[in-house]
């Protein structure tokens, strides 16, 4: 199955990495460098799911997560947090804020897509 995926990530290398990896499996990838830009793009393009970084300029990922969950057009769109925070408690914080999954960076290109699909199934 091929997805339409929105990646919200401010680090350009990491954005290129995730985009390249997902596109090489045939998925359609949209990208945004800030959360606000990401929400606008999500509203207009309705992706199958969103990959969201936490450490973002201006409005951080936690706030974006909350905004999406309150947004009429987006509250049903699965959001998977992909972050290098990886401190104890961060996973719990993201999940209770409504994230559908949590993947720690560095990502493993061998298993990344599989991890995502497992979260989407649950």
């Amino acid at each position: 199955m091929h997805y339409k995926i929105l990646i919200i990530e401010d680090n350009e290398q990491n954005l290129y990495l995730a985009k390249f990896l997902l596109e090489s499996y045939g998925h359609v990838v949209l990208t945004a460098l800030t959360g606000i830009e990401g929400i606008k793009l999500a509203e207009s393009s309705q992706p199958d799911f969103i990959l969201l970084d936490i450490q973002l300029p201006e409005v951080n990922g936690y706030e974006i997560l909350e905004k999406c969950k309150k947004n009429k057009q987006l509250f049903n769109t699965p959001i998977i947090v992909v972050t290098s925070y990886a401190m104890a408690g961060d996973r719990e914080r993201c999940m209770s804020a409504g994230a559908n999954g949590y993947i720690e960076k560095p990502i493993n290109p061998d298993t990344f897509m599989q991890q995502i699909e497992e979260f989407l199934l649950n």
Binding site: N11, L17, S84, P106, D110
Partner: protein, 220 residues
């Protein structure tokens, strides 16, 4: 701190992984070999960073424990599955025994797994022939977890130092056995934080036994 250290590693490990999988085009055998080495080094650096971050937090007293009720046997099965390939690669037998009396545990699953993975990994690393085994026994309200190996063992003069940070690097063993030299001090600090302790018995050239005792967290 964690974020700053891991962000560049994400692209290093990620791009080497993509290139190794051939997703950006085919590579010749020498390129694959060199990229594989780069990936191993990046992974080693990541382990080092994770350990240094853990020990820094422990020393600063900022370390938090997240307790939940979980299935201990299942968690050991997960550990067995993830470490079996490493033992197989070295031709070692891996044995896991969990006392049937042990069911659920109320503790920090990730941290207990971290301790056990660390100890079993060490067992595999320092054993060239024979076995590494984990025995878990219920003693009153505690679980005793014993990791035994038939490896190189530890000399009596070294045994009192092995829980100190960077001991492995001090002795120069690390060049033979890639590690961070922080694993055992983290295990010791974690065991203490979880309300238990860790002990070691060893005979040079015969093997080592690490005994971790932790409360189940469940009251009868």
């Amino acid at each position: 701190m964690s974020h700053e250290l891991r962000t560049p590693l994400n692209s290093i490990i990620g791009f080497t992984g993509i290139l190794l999988r051939g997703l950006a085009g085919p590579l010749n055998p020498e390129q694959l070999k060199q990229l594989g080495m780069a990936k191993n080094s990046a992974q080693h650096l990541l382990a080092l960073i994770n350990d240094v971050l853990d020990i820094t937090k422990i020393e600063a007293g900022e370390f938090e424990i997240f307790k939940n009720k979980y299935d201990f046997r299942k968690s050991v099965e997960f550990i067995a599955e993830s470490l079996n390939p490493l033992a197989q690669k070295k031709g070692l037998a891996m044995l896991f025994n969990v006392d049937p009396a042990i069911t659920d545990v109320y503790s920090d699953k990730r941290r207990i797994e971290q301790i056990l993975i660390n100890l079993i990994n060490n067992g595999i690393k320092f054993t060239d022939k024979g076995y590494v085994k984990l025995d878990c026994t219920l003693i009153g309200n505690d679980i005793e977890m014993k990791v035994t190996d038939s490896g190189i063992g530890i000399a009596p003069a070294d045994i009192e130092h092995i829980f100190k940070p960077f001991r492995q690097i001090d002795t120069g063993i690390s060049r033979l056995h890639e590690g961070t030299g922080l694993g055992l001090s983290i295990c010791k600090a974690l065991a203490k934080k979880l309300g238990g302790e860790i002990m070691v018995e060893s005979n040079k050239n015969i093997g080592s036994k690490f005994i971790v005792t932790l409360p189940t967290g469940l009251k009868d």
